[in-house]
């Protein structure tokens, strides 16, 4: 089948990709700049990385963020998968409309609203703010994303595998554990990672529902950046980008080898 793109589409697409990447390149490039100012490049230096490693504030904040993100992602996957299964497998049940609304609205709600309303809830109920409240906030948002991802995965499923397992005498729970869950796994992992990154990146929710002494990484970065540029942030960004790139590349390669493997078995 011929693949003809009209050249305008290709050009515009390249512009789009370039637009996405120029800032990322400059971030990384300037993280190696000796000078503190962005306005001139003096010479290559890794001093900002050293400064990063030596900053207790940033290290603590990173650990805090990772902890919160892990908890939120795990909770979100558990609750979100339940929602996805309910929506994808059971076409009519009481509360279905409500569930559909509840899992899609958070995706289209500004974070300021979610954060502010959650804070009022916590204050009104006298719940002390800290790690728990931030995890709750991130989980709530994550559930919406997980549901979308897992639902998509469920929809592309071949149900005959589950039916075969049931025919062979497997009880529903066993079928779920041994057949459905493994097949769902890529979707679960994707949903977990999505929520993890969301939580790691979140500034607004954390600011609203956080407690004293539990600063997250975005909060610290925001505090520094608000008043101007800070090259340690460049170093942080470069590390972040490297990490994301490597992780995604690995995931991509695994997925390709998986499908190649599966195709070879046919």
């Amino acid at each position: 089948m011929s693949r003809r793109y009209a050249w305008p589409a290709l050009v515009l697409a390249c512009v789009g990709f370039a637009f996405l990447y120029v800032p990322l390149f400059t971030l990384v490039a300037y993280s190696f700049n000796e000078s503190q100012r962005v306005t001139m490049w003096t010479r290559f230096s890794t001093r900002w990385y050293a400064a990063l490693a030596g900053s207790q504030e940033l290290i603590d904040a990173t650990l805090m963020s990772v902890k919160i993100a892990t908890l939120s992602a795990t909770m979100a996957v558990i609750v979100g998968t339940a929602a996805a299964i309910a929506l994808a497998r059971y076409k009519r049940f009481r509360g279905r409309g409500l569930l559909m609304l509840a899992v899609t609205v958070p995706l289209a709600t500004p974070e300021v609203l979610i954060g502010f309303s959650l804070l009022l809830l916590f204050v009104g109920l006298g719940i002390e703010r800290g790690v728990l409240t931030v995890v709750i906030a991130h989980t709530t948002l994550g559930i919406a994303y997980v549901t979308v991802v897992v639902q998509a995965r469920l929809a592309s499923f071949d149900r005959s595998l589950e039916e075969a397992a049931a025919d062979l005498g497997g009880r529903p729970l066993a079928v779920f554990k041994l057949v459905t869950l493994p097949l769902l796994m890529p979707g679960l992992v994707a949903g977990w990672l999505l929520t993890f990154v969301l939580s790691l990146d979140d500034l607004v929710l954390a600011n609203f529902v956080n407690g004293p002494g539990t600063s997250t990484l975005p909060m610290v970065v925001f505090g520094r950046v608000r008043t101007g540029l800070s090259p340690e942030v460049n170093a942080l960004a470069a590390i972040f980008i490297a990490f994301v790139t490597v992780t995604l590349a690995v995931v991509l390669l695994l997925e390709r080898s998986n499908t190649a493997h599966a195709a070879a078995q046919d």
Binding site: P23, A102, A237
Partner: protein
């Protein structure tokens, strides 16, 4: 349906945890916001006294800056949605039509910025748009301008930041829909004599409509209430609702007013589809 008690469907049971969770942590909080919007501010903890007072609403409707912020937010969010669509559609299109190898690479390229903390990416623009930053330096080098432009802290910089932050949210749904398209339809159209622009308008675009809608929703509404971009890239200009709610809460410590603003904001968001329906009300054949 036969009479008798209906057995509880397993769907209802499985749906219980998510409904429970989202009910408590998403729906109920909004009721709290409503309640606080009717409270009166006070110095102390908590900084409000429950009651029934419409003072906060009166203050909001009486002060032009809130309406200005709302209109500004609507304007910027619409422009952001439009620009991300214009920039993102070619990307999604090329990705959808690519062979599996290049397509995977392009997906990777879209995902990397998507997964890189938006805070960091917006920070990148702070550096780029500075007076001594790269954009100005390149423009001067190319001879387009003599002196550095003030690019930062303008409506333009907010727009650039928003488009940058939200572009992946438009590309991915578009790609999801476009990748399922039957491209033979396009071949058939050209076989029947249609020129590419016509094919695009009459076939590709309508088929891509669900993706456009999904992407627009994922961009427009969150962009309306965006805080980080206007705060870091907008400075004093470009007052947006998200920023206002934040300021009322964190700077003025006026929780009732922030709550009233939030409620008004939610009402506006909810009434947008209704407005759209009113305008689009015309007899449709076979809709």
């Amino acid at each position: 349906m036969s009479a008798g008690p209906r057995p509880v469907s397993p769907g209802s049971l499985i749906a219980l945890p998510p409904v429970f969770w989202l009910g408590i942590f998403f729906v109920v909080p909004f009721l709290f916001v409503l309640m606080i919007s009717l409270a009166t501010p006070q110095i102390g903890r908590p900084p409000y006294v429950l009651g029934f007072s419409l003072d906060s609403y009166a203050a909001i409707f009486g002060d032009a800056k809130y309406l200005d912020a709302l209109l500004n937010s609507l304007r910027l969010a619409s422009l952001t949605t439009l620009l991300t669509l214009i920039l993102g559609f070619p990307m999604a299109y090329v990705m959808a039509r690519a062979a599996p190898g290049p397509r995977a690479v392009m997906l990777l390229l879209v995902f990397i910025p998507f997964w890189t903390a938006s805070l960091l990416r917006i920070y990148a623009w702070m550096a780029l748009l500075q007076e001594g930053g790269i954009v100005n330096r390149v423009l001067i080098m190319l001879g387009v301008i003599d002196r550095p432009l003030t690019l930062l802290y303008t409506t333009g910089s907010i727009l650039v930041g928003m488009v940058y932050a939200y572009l992946p949210f438009m590309v991915l749904p578009l790609f999801a829909v476009l990748s399922r398209l039957d491209w033979r339809l396009l071949d058939a159209a050209s076989d029947l004599g249609a020129r590419p622009p016509v094919t695009f308008l009459r076939i590709t675009l309508p088929l891509a409509a669900p993706g456009i809608l999904a992407g627009s929703l994922l961009v427009f509404v969150p962009a309306l209430g965006e805080f980080v971009v206007p705060e870091l890239l907008g400075g004093q200009s470009g007052l947006m609702i998200g920023k206002l709610i934040w300021y009322e809460f964190f700077n003025s410590n006026d929780w009732p007013r922030a709550a009233a603003l939030s409620v008004s904001f939610v009402v506006v968001i909810l009434s947008l589809p209704l407005l759209g329906q009113l305008r689009g009300r015309r007899p449709e054949a076979g809709a």
